[in-house]
Assembly symmetry: C2
Homo-oligomer: 366 residues x 2
DNA sequence: GGTATTACGCAACAGCGTTGCTATTCTAGA
DNA sequence: TCTAGAATAGCAACGCTGTTGCGTAATACC
């Protein structure tokens, strides 16, 4: 059963709203927030006072606009909070330290042994986190996010059957890592982390988006209506296993003509353009199905050929979606490159703590 | 910029939460609500008092569970509120009157002239609404919902370019109908209305679902994370225009190998089973992409062959989605048959007024 | 009939945003 | 240089939310 809302929820909701605006615009003032949110200036003063007390914002001078007392301008302090993100790939662990606005401050890449075990990962994780946490002032590190390949259960924090990883069946990685690291940990699919990175950095106008990731498999991370969408079983985003060619070649998943197998065969024969065109068909399919207005391309197997993929996707979107002025979709490559998953895992932690509230949370938060 | 939350929002949120529970369970008591929502029993008493005053619930006797004062049981009054829904199809206008729990009480089907104009529709709508409203006690009729083929703009209430309807370009139907009918009107895509019908009747456990509709075109209505998902431009659900056969037959939309054209060709040659199998491939594609756990089949061109479509979809879901215990998906046909769109349009009105609140609303409501 | 137990509401309370008003601090003009 | 006007900011009281403390009512059990 859903939880009810109380005054704490009300306060946190509005605080998070102001943080979101501050994050987007950098500097802000009381009157603008009041006009935009519908709060009274007095209420905004109270919110700002709380954010000042939390150390999240600081005064940033005054602005003289003419007659009258000048406006006090505030700004978000990017280094007031940090988060660490981990991207668990098949052979490497990539760790990043980010600040509150989603800038990547440091990156550590550690090799992982073939068929690494949970213990291997926890050891590598602990060492890397210790190194990265060293640069943060006490109390400013919010937590650690882990992005990895599914299937997994985001709500429970359990890796169910990580694809092509032998020792990863029903591993309660979130709780194991929480205990080992001594700080809050989140676990999510790599693609969902990725799209969260884009969303956190782009702000509240980035409401409906998909991140397409080509990297030992093809997946998609969904950001729908202003928050990550994971599906009923944390299994959304198996974009590569949508059939685009009935009776096509047999895929590893057992079906025929999956986007992934058709794409991979084109890549195997060296035809990047054909591969890109297949992916573009999939992108347009997704636009038809869920109508996002931002498509972000990412992944280690895509970025080296970013131009080809971007070009094919743009051409397909322009040609095949009805071209009317109200139906526009932006297609880009990720602004974070190969760090996008790790950075996104970090930003999931920030989003949990300081992002827009959707529904009342069960657990209390700072 | 998003709106802030105030005490009205807090109250309405909790009131709606209790209504949702009452709707789902029929009868309820104070202690159960308190335990489920996290509210104190005293707070629940206040909520129930408000709902009693609004005439939405009434005492329904007492329940003796052993020692102590018996529990007062309350029940939702289904006929305390009504809504009217309209399904604008290409040749007919179907109107239904529903009660608060989503029961269809009356249905009216009116023929529409070929290439009907907005004026034609408004006339037919006004006449039908007058007839249906006759049976409702004053003040209990919440409003009218209109479901029709897109593209349209749900937020603005404007029909942009209704597919295969000549006189329907940039028609502000919602406002025209609001003025003509003198009561609140909502406008939405037919498929979105349809999935709302299922969601309203199934309650809060129905969180991630898709309704597939085969009826002069193939579309899908999405219900994601507990609310309707319409996409960035109210254009989600163009399920029929996902490519399932690269270089397949040319579709009316200009692309090749769309699900719709492949499906329709199979139907045209009388091979319902093949058509059903194609649709089933699309259903599994959608499951891969967005991972819903409820699939509802509907539409005038599907229901006469419901067994074939349902069988094919079930077989495909069972065979092609990895069969593990945590990944279950329910596939059914709509419980409302041909009324599903009209009924859903009505329930969108109910959902707007009495459904779970997502974010603070700009406009005040009762 | 007494007692433990459960349900439920009145009353006081903390905390939210709101309202009314005052103080502060600037520009513009006398 | 001084005064008037204007815009910002904050204090204090307020209405409303859910919460807490406690008294009262209604039942089963002994």
């Amino acid at each position: 059963m859903e939880k009810a809302a109380d005054l704490d929820y009300l306060r946190d909701y509005n605080d998070a709203l102001v943080v979101a605006i501050a994050r987007r615009s950098g500097v802000f003032d009381r009157a603008t927030i009041a006009a935009g949110t519908g709060l009274t200036p007095q209420a905004v003063s109270k919110v700002v006072a709380r954010l000042l007390a939390a150390g999240l914002v600081e005064p940033d001078g005054v602005r003289r606009t003419g007659v009258g007392k000048p406006t006090t301008v505030y700004r978000l302090i990017p280094t007031s909070r940090y988060a660490i993100g981990a991207h668990v790939a098949r052979r490497t662990l990539r760790l990043v330290l980010t600040d509150l606005v989603g800038e990547v401050l440091r990156t550590i890449v550690t090799p992982l042994p073939e068929d690494f075990t949970p213990q291997h990962l926890l050891d590598a994780l602990a060492e890397g986190v210790t190194t990265l946490a060293d640069g943060c002032r006490a109390g400013r590190l919010v937590g650690v996010g882990i992005g990895m390949v599914g299937p997994l259960d985001h709500a429970e924090g359990v890796v169910r059957d990580a694809h092509r990883l032998r020792h990863w069946h029903d591993v309660p990685l979130r709780d194991l890592a929480t205990e080992r690291l001594g700080m809050p940990v989140l676990l999510d699919k790599d693609v969902t982390a990725g799209v969260t990175a884009e969303a956190w950095r782009r702000g509240t106008t980035f409401r409906d988006a998909v991140l397409i990731m080509v990297e030992s498999g093809i997946g998609s991370g969904l950001w729908l209506g202003g928050s990550a969408y994971r599906g009923a079983h944390t299994n959304a985003g198996e974009f590569g296993h949508m059939v685009v060619q009935l009776d096509g070649p047999r895929c590893v998943c057992g079906r025929r003509g999956c986007l992934e197998i058709v794409h991979d065969q084109a890549r195997a024969r060296g035809d990047v353009d054909a591969a890109a065109r297949v992916l573009a068909v999939g992108v347009v399919n997704l636009l038809q199905a869920i109508d996002v207005d931002h498509v972000v391309l990412a992944g280690a197997d895509l970025l080296p050929h970013a131009d080809a993929y971007l070009g094919a996707a743009l051409a397909a979107v322009r040609a095949e979606v009805p071209r009317v002025d109200w139906l526009t979709t932006e297609v880009t490559t990720s602004s974070l490159g190969t760090d996008v998953i790790a950075a996104g895992a970090a930003m999931e932690v920030l989003n949990e703590e300081y992002g827009p509230l959707t529904s009342p949370r069960t657990a209390a938060h700072a």
